[in-house]
Symmetry: C2
Subunit: 318 residues, 2 copies
């Protein structure tokens, strides 16, 4: 088969990443541009259109199509974004229609974590697996579920919202309206809540470093001081890892899928949480699942999203 | 297409149900026989073989094959039961091989809740849905997940163990080795634990009715006194319903599937728990999922399992 090319788009809260990707998964050209402050669906579609055009001009390659990964609840079939944490004003936006006005090649959309999962499946840690689950740990938790080699979308595109598995029945209120969702305990805001679980002395010591303001306990900060050896910070990462393990155990018991790939910015702190995560999964799943567990860190770089989005565009039927 | 026939077998802890079922889902003949006390895999296979033969003799119909629903972790492809709560001595039993020695027509096996789900999909409350989730509430919680019109088995047959979704991270120890599993809070032993949550006065009043022995708070007993109007018993069923709703909300957020069918003996107490379950699901899932929620009671009778098992045997490839 001849090599073909597509443009992959990964829309983030702050950056838009665009790239030309071959059917071998190789990135031929790429760019990251700031999203800016105007976040209406029209202006975002125009921004994407502009940079897709720039990419097309930049490479002299035949481009078969364009895939766009969008954060939020994406109905890939109807081309609608029902809601998006990064673009709170988007409600039932017909983004595909807007994109088609801006882009002169075939366009498809999907949830960004689904695009990420597709990249891992085709070119990354998930190669050779027909079933896998991807979690992206960042400001929230994204999820992608691959079943029999294909992204599973569920009814109307709502599959994979694994950040909203309930891990504490009467826990912290979540932006989704529920309480005790996994993403309150194993994403960037986790430490704001988890710090309350520390014994008083450890709690005081870590809060002293942020002027007693728990809101300043970002994942980056807690990782930095944990890596410097701070015992309270290390303990917080173990709490984080434990909750992540509880959520993943529920996923494994539900789906019987034992290949789990973790990405997103917080995956960089892998060594700080993964032992606690693994121990929790092993203690909460059947022996055979625990034996077969593959708990893997994303093997692709920060451009995983565009590789997945482009590969979705290259997959039939385009 | 001509009508074809298969034998469906549903192996329970106390009874073995066997029936001849047509490709229209109609039961032509059926029987329930006690399993007895000898529960080795060999003797169970012999018992099944005997009653399959009895059924074949009883009806003068061409029988295409036999499907057996077995409780526990069933690897339908390899024909192995890894473990079964009702047959604790079974470990990695090659039950299909044993059954094939006893039964002279093509035989297949699967988890009993998967067979149940297949019956609901083809002839019951799930007709016309391509994705659905079935939960059977009894001594434990069985689960079957239908994706794109087919049972999803996961890796090695472990999909659908929804009774082991974690609903209380530090909750009651479960037979599976984990803690706080859904089936400790929304199956037959739930009330033994849930009674502790009642205010002292209500707790004492309900425990007085069972000689202060919480182990005697069976689902049947608590249903009986709730139906007589006992307020503490009604409250216990609301606790039960709430936990069931938490578990189902995690399932809906993970899978994006909004057709949920509930069966098993405890489904008979539907009116006692379902309002609390529905309220919990609605408060914990996305609005569009809540709007599309179909929370359905099994529409087939106690022979659902044999209908599903027979229909699995009639589905290609047999």
């Amino acid at each position: 088969m001849n090599k073909s090319y597509a443009i992959g788009v990964d829309l983030g809260a702050t950056n838009l990443r665009v790239g030309v990707v071959g059917s071998d998964g190789k990135i031929e050209a790429q760019a990251a541009v700031p999203v800016g402050s105007v976040k209406s669906a029209d202006s975002i579609a125009a921004l994407i259109g502009e940079h897709v055009w720039v990419m097309q001009e930049q490479v002299s390659l035949p481009i078969a199509g364009c895939g766009c990964g969008i954060p939020g609840i994406v109905d890939h079939e109807r081309g609608i974004v029902y809601s998006s944490p990064n673009f709170p004003q988007w409600k039932d936006v017909e983004i595909l229609k807007l994109l088609k006005k801006e882009i002169q090649i075939p366009v498809i959309i999907d949830n960004d974590a689904n695009m990420f999962a597709l990249a891992e499946l085709m070119y990354g840690a998930g190669r050779g697996h027909k079933n896998l689950i991807v979690l992206t740990l960042g400001s929230g938790i994204g999820g992608g579920i691959v079943i029999d080699g294909k992204i599973f979308h569920g009814d109307r595109g709502f599959a994979g919202e694994v950040g909203h598995i309930v891990v504490e029945p009467d826990g912290v209120p979540c932006g989704c309206g529920s309480m005790g969702c996994l993403e309150q305990y194993a994403a960037s805001r986790a430490f704001v809540h988890l710090v309350k679980r520390l014994p008083k002395k450890e709690k005081d010591s870590i809060l002293d470093r942020v002027g007693q303001d728990p809101e300043r306990l970002t994942a980056l900060f807690v990782a930095d001081i944990a890596n410097e050896g701070d015992p309270a910070a290390k303990e917080l990462w173990r709490f984080f890892g434990r909750y992540l393990g509880i959520g993943i155990a529920s996923l494994i018991n539900t789906l019987g899928i034992t290949t789990i790939i973790i990405g997103g910015g917080i995956a960089r702190s892998w060594d700080l949480f993964i032992d606690a995560t693994r121990a929790e999964i092993v203690s909460r799943t059947y022996k055979k699942n625990a034996e077969n567990l593959k708990l893997l860190k994303t093997s692709l770089g920060e451009f995983t999203g565009i590789v997945g989005a482009a590969s979705a565009a290259l997959s039939p039927p385009l």
